[in-house]
Amino acid sequence: MSDCTRDEWMTVVAARMLRDRCVCFVGIGLPSAACNLARLTHAPDIVLIYESGTIGARPQVLPLSIGDGELAETASCVVPLPELFNYYLQAGRVDVGFLGAAQIDRHGNLNSTVIGPYGAPSTRLPGAGGAPEIALHARETFVMLKATPRSFVERLDFRTTAGHCRAASVPSRNNAGREGVARAPRDESSHGPSAVITDFGVLTPRADSGELSLSGLFGDASVAEARAAVGWPLGVADQLEPIAPPSAFELETLRGLQARTRAAYALPVSIPA
């Protein structure tokens, strides 16, 4: 399909990474679209968990928030938040965490807290939410993040969620001593992303160092485009994985989901009488 957008490439390729019957903790936005596309195509029995405590959600339209009524109404169960984080996530009952972020570095550390110094930020971002513990406790983590000049950076302003290597952010008062190990070998106990899906393709961590390198390109994207979009000297796998373009079925399903979502959002506002 040559007429699909890069957003559609991202969503379709991300959806393919999810196995049927896996238990997946879903971040809002791009990850939510990808996880529901997987459910509506090759993974009908995937268990989608949103951090509002909705387990096994099967929304007909994409939710705007992680706690829309649509999620509660279609979930197999709705549990209190401490139960979700303690008895499901921390107890190891989640296979995949699917996250977004504002910034990522070469080791897959994520920032969703601040741009600039913590005490005087130029941009205050929303913050951690569930991400640090989702990445820590899920067996595997995927990240979706659009490539902008500020998103794939040499150095994070703040490390909200740990990736494959310790010490990657600007030194703060309590971790300044760790700065020197920024290029340390991959931490075997780490919980960094096993794939990062972005506008031009897919990055995966190198087995030896955990450093994210280009492993696959979408359609007409080039290595030069990928290098230009990433704020560190991007490594490229010896052999790039071919990525099949979105199929007609995948695109039709995704576009149908998005059309239903737009129609639902356009319904008249219901201020309680």
Binding site: G67, G69, A72, F85, L125, G127, G129, T161, S169, S172
Partner: protein, 285 residues
Amino acid sequence: MTTPRHCSLTEAIAEFVEDGMCVALEGFTHLIPFAAGHEIIRQRRRDLHLVRMTPDLVYDQMIGMGCARKLSFSWGGNPGVGSLHRLRDAVERGWPQPLQLDEHSHAGMAAAFCAGAARLPFGLLRGYQDNDLAAHNPRIRHVHCPFSGERIAAVPALNPDVTILHAQQADRQGNVAIHGIVGAAREAALAARTLLVTVEEIVDALPPAMNGIVLPWWVVAAVVACPGGAYPSYAQGHYARDNAFYQHWDEIARDRQRFLAWIDRHVLGTTDHRGFLDSLHREAA
């Protein structure tokens, strides 16, 4: 045990919420007590330490109106839309006043509420690992398990002076029923010294609980009938979340003057939540 007061929201906020208190308005996306937040703005409370996992629009409005000196939270955005511009303005530019942050992850806030509800000094979690949150928040520390020696993150209990919830129903005795997404409502309620609840309706008898959350009358200080009290968030079974309002808020809150005019017209310019909803109806017409 004291019987819960049945009173107006104006009376409940006047009696129980004082300047300088630690106040939690909980409800995770669902059942956010907007009416109570607006009444706190109308009564011009100051220097509050606000606690909420997801500050949402309700705290954006309270922070923008200068009600807060401190915020304990774990995710401060407009869900699915973007920033909370009033929260950002307070943190980035100190407008209308500086805001001290006590910042956590969701798992950390949940542990702090659970400890508070159990009247334990701190909550435990496997979390805050290899990230910068603990470096910037001295309230995130670590302890060693006395049995295995494992290093585990600890957060101090959250015990608000007042927690305010919105629920679907209460009965005449003051028992409170909540169903749908419950978030940390039960923990925030039982962690508080005083619990106020606004409800969609007061009924003669509550339906069988079916694992919905019932807070018994003797943990409740006051019950206020307040239909639509969670709008523009929602009350499952009563009305849906107004996603269009959440999207529209982005442009209202982006500009200080536009924000102040909105609050002036719809919150300060009305006497209660009925008046607030009527005012929005008039604007939409």
